[in-house]
């Protein structure tokens, strides 16, 4: 099996890259809430 893997390194490398891209695509989370205003920035009466 190791010999087979060594003879198909390009295929396994392509599968690894596809896996990385899939992981970044499927597990990405960009739904960020806007930051709350800091108290120091609020106008003082």
């Amino acid at each position: 099996m190791i010999d087979l893997a060594l003879n198909n390194l390009y295929v396994l490398g392509a599968a690894l890259v596809i896996g990385i891209a899939t992981g970044r695509w499927a597990f990405s989370n960009r739904k960020a809430t806007p930051p709350e205003p800091r108290k120091e920035d609020e106008p003082k009466p």
Binding site: M1, D3, L4, A5, N7, N8, Y10, V11, L12, G13, A14, A15, L16, V17, I18, G19, I20, A21, T22, G23, R24, W25, A26, F27, S28, N29, R30, K31, A32, P35, E36
Partner: protein, 172 residues
């Protein structure tokens, strides 16, 4: 309309793409056949090394598998050798073990020779006896399993370096 895809659908697309790439390399690009050709050369080299006459080795090609079919007249000693000590200096590994030590070959099956009445060299069937003769696990299945394992490793790396929302603060 919600255009965002579910996570499972994305994973399914990635897995399907991986299987497609592995199959393309195995079949249309000829990597599977080339690998079996390499194993055939190793099996022939083992037979030349043993210097036992009238032996032939054929890799399984229907379907492609890492199984070598050896046919010809060989006694038990020539097949199994002596393994008193595991690969010790006084041991003769025999054809079975030498084939497995050559690398890549997964199984050795002795195919009963279908020799003609006056044939001096028993002819092997060109592609071996096939799946019915004990060809073992097809090479395509092994390549697909390896590709899926590599894809899973990549998936873990992709999860580690996934896009995260920006931090709100130093500890957030």
């Amino acid at each position: 309309m919600n255009r965002s895809m579910s996570r499972w659908l994305k994973l399914l697309i990635g897995l399907g793409l991986t299987l497609l790439v592995a199959w393309l390399a195995y079949g249309p690009l000829g990597r599977g056949s080339a690998y079996i050709d390499l194993l055939q050369q190793r099996a022939d080299a083992v037979l030349r090394y043993t210097e036992i006459p009238n032996l032939q080795a054929r890799m399984s090609r229907a379907p492609l598998a890492r199984t070598v079919f050896v046919c010809g007249a060989a006694n038990d000693f020539q097949r199994g050798g002596t393994m008193v000590w595991e690969r010790g200096p006084a041991d003769y590994p025999g054809i079975d073990a030498l084939m497995l030590y050559a690398g890549g070959i997964g199984r050795v099956v002795w195919d009963p020779a279908a020799a003609g009445p006056r044939a001096t060299t028993p002819p092997c069937r060109p592609d071996g006896p096939g799946a019915a003769g004990g060809g073992g696990l097809p090479l395509l299945v092994e390549i697909l399993v390896l590709a899926v394992l590599a894809w899973l490793i990549g998936l873990g790396i992709g999860w580690l370096i996934r896009r995260r929302p920006p931090r709100k603060g130093y500890l957030g």
